[in-house]
Amino acid sequence: MTTWIDIGSLEDIPQRGARVVKTAMGCVAVFRTARDEVFALSDRCPHKGGPLSEGIVHGKSVTCPLHNWVFSLETGQAQGADEGLVPTYPARVEGSRILLDATQLARRSAA
C-alpha cells in the first residue's frame, strides 16, 4: 500500500538543488533536477557519510561534497569506479506539490 504525503512545494527546492526531510530513520535528501524531476535518497554518502543534499546536482546525478563521489539519483548507485548504494525512496510531483511514500519511510522506521 502506498500513502503519499505532501512534504512541500516544488518551488521550495531550487532547480539542480536539494532540501532535507527529517525522518525517524535519519535525513532524506529530496532532489530537484533542471527538468523538475524529483528524487528522494538517503542524505548520507556510503563512503564517509557526507550530506548528499549539499552536493552539486547535474543531469540525474549528484556529487557528494566531501570527496566527489557521484551517485545516480534514479538508482542510488555510485558511478564510475566507486562502489556503493544509497537507499532511494519513491517520490513524485503532483501539480506543484512534492509527495513522498510515507509507508516506505514508515516501514523502514518500523523495521
Binding site: I5, I7, G8, D12, I13, P14, Q15, R16, G17, R19, V20, V21, K22, T23, A24, C27, V30, A34, K48, G49, G50, P51, E54, G55, I56, V57, H58, G59, S61, T63, P65, L66, N68, V70, A102, L105, A106, S109
Partner: protein, 810 residues
C-alpha cells in the same frame, strides 16, 4: 630547327623552366641574362647564409658546369637595356641577342619607403646575395641594426643579424608581426620569442626619417622614438620588377600580365615568377612559381598547359620559431574558430572553419601537423566527423595511415629528419639510446631541430617511438568529460563570443552533457561572473557547498564559521560577540586560524543564519574563509608598536582587505603585509605579499605555502601606499580575468610568465587603470556581506523542508 630562347633573369622560377626544358630535350639555344654576377641559387636559403648556418656554395642550384653542359650562353653581370619586339631582339649592355621566344623573369624589387635619408650609405634592402653579404659585412663591425618591416623577410634578416652579434630592433607598421600570415595571438607569441632572444620589437611604428650625415646613424619614428642604427635594413615589401616590360609596351598592371599559358600580350614573349600578374594575383612564394615554370616549359614546347594558382602555406624560417600559417584566418561572420593554447609551452593553434570545412590554420610552437591541415584546406575536406579532435591533428583521427608516430616508426634509419643539419633518424635514435631522452638533449647532441625547428614535431615523434611509454607527449587537457575544450579555450571563447550565461556556453561550445558536472560548472560560473559582472547572474547551484552556504563544510556535515577581522585586528566588543555566539550555539571548537582569524567549528547547518545574525549585530561580516576569493590579509603590528617597523603595515593590510573583500577569484587568495624585512607576517609566501622598507613597499606575487612552497617573485617596488594598493588590485584583476579556475596565482604566473604580468600591471599604466576599473565594477556587484543577505532572504533554505518525525509522533 633550333629556336633561340632568351631568358632575362636567373632566378628560381626561370631556373626551373630551364631544368624542365632540358629534361624534356627541347630544341632551344638559350641565352641567359642576369644582372647579378652569378647564376641561379636558392634564394629561400639566403637567411641561413645570413645567419651563418650555410655558405653561398651550399645554396647554389646551377653552377657554371651545369650551364656549360646545357649550352647556355650566360651573360651575367649584364643589365638588359631594352627589348625590341619589332626586331625580336634583346639589347644588352654588351650587345644584342635575337630571339624566337623571350622569357622575362626579372623577379621583384624591394620596396623602398620614401623617407628622408633612404639613400644614405648603410641603408640596404634584403633581396639577393649581395644584400646578404652587405649585412654580413656590416654585422662584423658590431653595433646596432634597425630592420624596417616585421614580415617574413624582415624577421629573418633581424634574426640573422642578431645571430651575428648586432643589437637589433624591428620596426613594424602594423599592430602585430607578420600580420598577413599570423593572427594577433600568434603574432604576440612570435614577438615574445624574438624579444626573449634580445631582438627589440616596435609595433605600430611608422618610420619618419633615417638620420645621419655621411651614413645612416639612427631611425626616427613618427612618435618621436629614435633608434640608433649603424645598419638599416628595409624589408617592407616587394613589387614586381616590370620596367623592361613597360618600356617594351607589354601589358602591365601591377605585374606583367600573363595568360594561363604564361604568355604576355606578345605571343612570343612569356613571363614567369614574381614579376608576373596572373588573374589579378601576384606571387611571392616558391610553390606557385614552380607551377608556373612547368607551364612555361610546356608552352615553349607547344604543349597544352594552364597555370592554376593553388593555396599556399607559410613556414617561417627564423631559427627556433616554429610557425605555420595557411589559408584565410580573418574573423568573419559564419566562421568559427577552434583554438588550442598552452601558455606554459608557448603553443598556439587556431583553425578557422566555414561551412564544415577548414579554410585557415595558424600554428605557433608546434607545426608538425601543418601539412595535414594544409591538405584539408586545399582539398576542402568536410571535417564535421572529426571536428572534436581536429585540432589535435591526424594522430587523433584514427586510421593507421594517419598516425604520424607510426609513420615515423616505419622510417628507415637513414631517413633524414632534420634537413637543416642533415641529421638522419638513425643518428637521433643513437643519441636517445645513449641517454638523450628529451628534445633539448637530442638537440644538444645531434643538432636535430636546432636550426629552423620545423622538424621539432618529427624529433619528438622519434623520441616517442624510441622511448615508448617513457616519453610523455604533452597533450591538451580538457576541462572535464563534458567537453574537449581546455580551460584556456573556454575562457577565451566566453570573452570573444560574448557568452553571458551558462546555457550559452554549453550550447555554443558544444557541451556533451545537458547541464555540465561538478567539475565544469563551478569553473564556468566563475568565468562568467568574472568576465560579465553586470550581465551574468551568479548561480549558487553551480557552486561547491561552501560557497553556496557561506561556511566551510566539515567531515561530519557541520560547518565552520569565521568572521572577518580586517587586517587581523579585533576588539573586546567583537570578541564578546564571538564568545557569546560560541556558547549560544554550542560550538565545540574555537580556534585561531593561520590567517589571524577566529574559527568557530562544528556549527549545525540549520543554525547558520541565526549565528550570522548574531555576529552581524556586533558588526562582524563573513570572513569568506570558505571561498575561492580573498581570504585574509595577514599583518604585523608595523610602526604603531614595533620598534623595527618602517611603515604602517597594519593600516595598509586593513585598506587592502577593505578594497578586495568579497571578490571572487579563480582560487583562494591570501595576502600579507610585513612592516619590515624581518617579515613577521610571512608575506613572502603569500599570493600577494608586501614587505615594507624604509623607501616604500616591495610587492611580491605568486608565493605559496601549501602543497607547493614557493617564495614570492618581485612584481615591483613602489614608494606610496596608494601605488601598493593599485598594483595589488590590478594584479588580482589580471589573475581573475586570465587564470584557469583552481590555479593559484603562482601557477598562473608560471604559465604566463612574470614579464607578461609586469607588462600589464606595472609598465602599462593605462592598462593598470583599466584593470582597476573593471575590478571596481565587479565589486559594485559582489562586495556585499553574504551572511546578512542570506539571513534576509535565504533563511528558509537552511532548515529541513519537512520534519516527518513530528508527524510520526502525533
Amino acid at each position: 630547327m633550333t629556336q633561340k630562347l632568351v631568358v632575362i633573369g636567373a632566378g628560381m622560377a626561370s631556373g626551373r623552366v630551364l631544368e624542365h626544358l632540358f629534361e624534356a630535350g627541347a630544341d632551344y639555344d638559350v641565352t641567359l641574362f642576369n644582372a647579378e654576377p652569378r647564376g641561379n641559387y636558392n634564394r629561400i636559403m639566403l637567411s641561413p647564409v645570413l645567419s651563418g648556418d650555410k655558405t653561398y656554395e651550399e645554396i647554389v642550384t646551377h653552377d657554371h658546369a651545369w650551364y656549360a653542359a646545357h649550352g647556355v650562353a650566360c651573360r651575367f653581370s649584364e643589365h638588359v637595356v631594352k627589348i625590341d619586339r619589332d626586331r625580336k631582339i634583346v639589347v644588352g649592355e654588351n650587345g644584342e641577342v635575337a630571339y624566337d621566344k623571350l622569357l622575362i623573369a626579372t623577379g621583384s624589387a624591394p620596396f623602398i619607403i620614401p623617407v628622408a635619408g633612404k639613400d644614405l650609405p648603410g641603408v640596404i634592402s634584403y633581396r639577393d646575395l649581395d644584400d646578404a653579404n652587405a649585412m654580413i659585412g656590416a654585422a662584423a663591425m658590431g653595433g646596432s641594426a634597425v630592420v624596417i618591416g616585421g614580415g617574413l623577410l624582415g624577421l629573418e634578416a633581424a634574426a640573422g643579424l642578431k645571430n651575428r652579434g648586432m643589437d637589433v630592433t624591428v620596426i613594424h607598421l602594423m599592430g602585430h608581426l607578420m600580420e598577413r600570415q599570423l593572427d594577433p595571438s600568434a603574432g604576440y607569441l612570435l614577438q615574445r620569442e624574438l624579444e626573449q632572444r634580445g631582438i627589440k620589437v616596435h609595433c605600430k611604428g611608422a618610420t619618419k626619417a633615417i638620420l645621419g650625415h655621411d651614413r645612416a646613424e639612427a631611425v626616427l619614428l613618427e612618435d618621436g622614438t629614435v633608434y640608433p642604427a649603424d645598419l638599416v635594413v628595409m624589408a617592407v615589401g616587394i613589387r614586381p620588377e616590370t620596367r623592361l616590360a613597360v618600356d617594351a609596351h607589354l601589358e602591365v598592371a601591377r605585374g606583367i600580365v600573363v595568360s594561363d599559358q604564361m604568355v604576355t600580350s606578345d605571343p612570343d614573349v612569356l613571363a614567369v615568377g614574381e614579376c608576373v600578374e596572373h588573374d589579378g594575383q601576384l606571387f611571392g612564394l616558391v610553390a606557385p612559381l614552380y607551377d608556373q615554370a612547368k607551364v612555361v616549359a610546356r608552352t615553349l614546347q607547344a604543349e597544352p598547359a594552364a597555370f592554376r594558382p593553388v593555396q599556399t602555406a607559410t613556414k617561417l624560417k627564423v631559427t627556433g620559431c616554429d610557425l605555420f600559417s595557411a589559408g584565410d584566418f580573418a574573423e568573419a561572420e559564419g566562421r568559427e574558430d577552434i583554438v588550442f593554447r598552452d601558455p606554459a609551452r608557448g603553443l598556439y593553434k587556431r583553425l578557422v572553419i566555414e561551412r564544415d570545412r577548414l579554410i585557415g590554420a595558424v600554428m605557433y610552437g608546434d607545426t608538425a601537423d601543418g601539412n595535414w591541415f594544409f591538405g584539408l584546406i586545399k582539398d576542402g575536406t568536410e571535417i564535421e566527423a572529426m571536428r572534436e579532435t581536429l585540432i589535435f591533428g591526424p594522430a587523433y583521427q584514427g586510421g593507421a595511415a594517419m598516425d604520424p608516430t607510426a609513420a615515423v616508426a616505419a622510417l628507415p634509419a637513414d631517413a633524414e629528419i632534420c634537413g637543416c643539419n642533415g641529421v638522419c633518424k638513425g643518428r637521433i635514435v643513437e643519441a636517445i639510446t645513449g641517454g638523450a631522452t628529451t628534445l633539448d638533449a637530442v638537440r644538444a647532441q645531434t643538432k636535430a631541430s636546432g636550426s629552423c625547428g620545423t622538424c621539432t614535431g618529427l624529433v619528438e615523434q622519434v623520441l616517442a617511438v624510441t622511448l615508448g611509454d617513457d616519453f610523455v607527449m604533452p597533450a591538451a587537457k580538457p576541462v572535464c568529460a563534458c567537453t574537449e575544450l581546455t580551460h584556456e579555450d573556454v575562457r577565451r571563447m566566453i570573452k570573444s563570443q560574448e557568452l553571458k550565461s551558462m546555457a550559452a556556453v554549453m550550447q555554443e561550445l558544444g557541451w556533451k552533457t545537458s547541464c555540465g558536472c561538478h567539475v565544469c560548472r563551478p569553473a564556468l560560473n566563475f568565468y562568467l561572473l568574472a568576465d560579465w559582472p553586470l550581465d551574468y547572474q551568479d548561480d549558487p547551484q553551480s557552486r561547491f557547498v561552501n560557497e553556496r552556504k557561506h561556511a566551510n563544510i566539515q567531515k561530519d556535515g557541520t560547518f565552520s564559521v569565521v568572521p572577518r577581522m580586517w587586517g587581523g585586528l579585533t576588539n573586546p566588543r567583537e570578541l564578546r560577540a564571538i564568545a557569546d555566539a560560541a556558547e549560544k550555539y554550542n560550538v565545540p571548537t574555537v580556534k585561531v586560524t593561520g590567517g589571524q582569524r577566529i574559527d568557530l567549528l562544528g556549527v549545525r547547518g540549520e543554525d547558520l543564519p541565526a549565528i550570522w545574525a548574531d555576529l552581524n549585530r556586533a558588526g562582524l561580516v563573513s570572513g569568506h574563509a570558505y571561498s575561492k576569493g580573498l581570504r585574509t590579509v595577514k599583518t604585523c603590528v608595523g610602526t604603531d608598536h614595533c620598534r623595527f617597523g618602517t611603515q604602517d603595515s597594519t593600516g595598509l593590510g586593513v585598506k587592502l582587505e577593505k578594497a578586495l573583500w568579497g571578490s571572487w577569484t579563480p582560487h583562494k587568495v591570501k595576502l600579507a603585509v610585513s612592516g619590515c624585512p624581518r617579515n613577521c607576517a610571512e608575506a613572502t609566501c603569500k599570493d600577494v605579499g608586501i614587505v615594507c622598507v624604509d623607501s616604500g613597499y616591495q610587492i611580491g606575487v605568486g608565493g605559496a605555502a601549501g602543497m607547493d612552497v614557493k617564495e614570492t617573485e618581485r612584481l615591483a617596488d613602489v614608494k606610496t601606499e596608494e601605488e601598493a594598493i593599485a598594483l595589488t588590485i590590478a594584479f588580482v584583476q589580471l589573475y581573475r580575468e586570465n587564470a584557469k579556475y583552481l590555479d593559484r596565482p603562482y601557477k598562473f604566473i608560471a604559465k604566463v610568465g612574470l614579464d607578461w604580468v609586469k607588462a600589464r600591471v606595472v609598465d602599462d599604466v593605462a592598462n593598470r587603470a583599466a584593470l582597476i576599473e573593471r575590478f571596481q565594477l565587479s565589486q559594485s556587484v559582489y562586495q556585499k556581506d553574504p551572511w546578512a543577505e542570506h539571513v534576509e532572504t535565504e533563511r528558509a533554505r537552511y532548515v529541513p523542508l519537512a520534519n516527518l518525525m513530528l508527524e510520526a509522533a502525533e
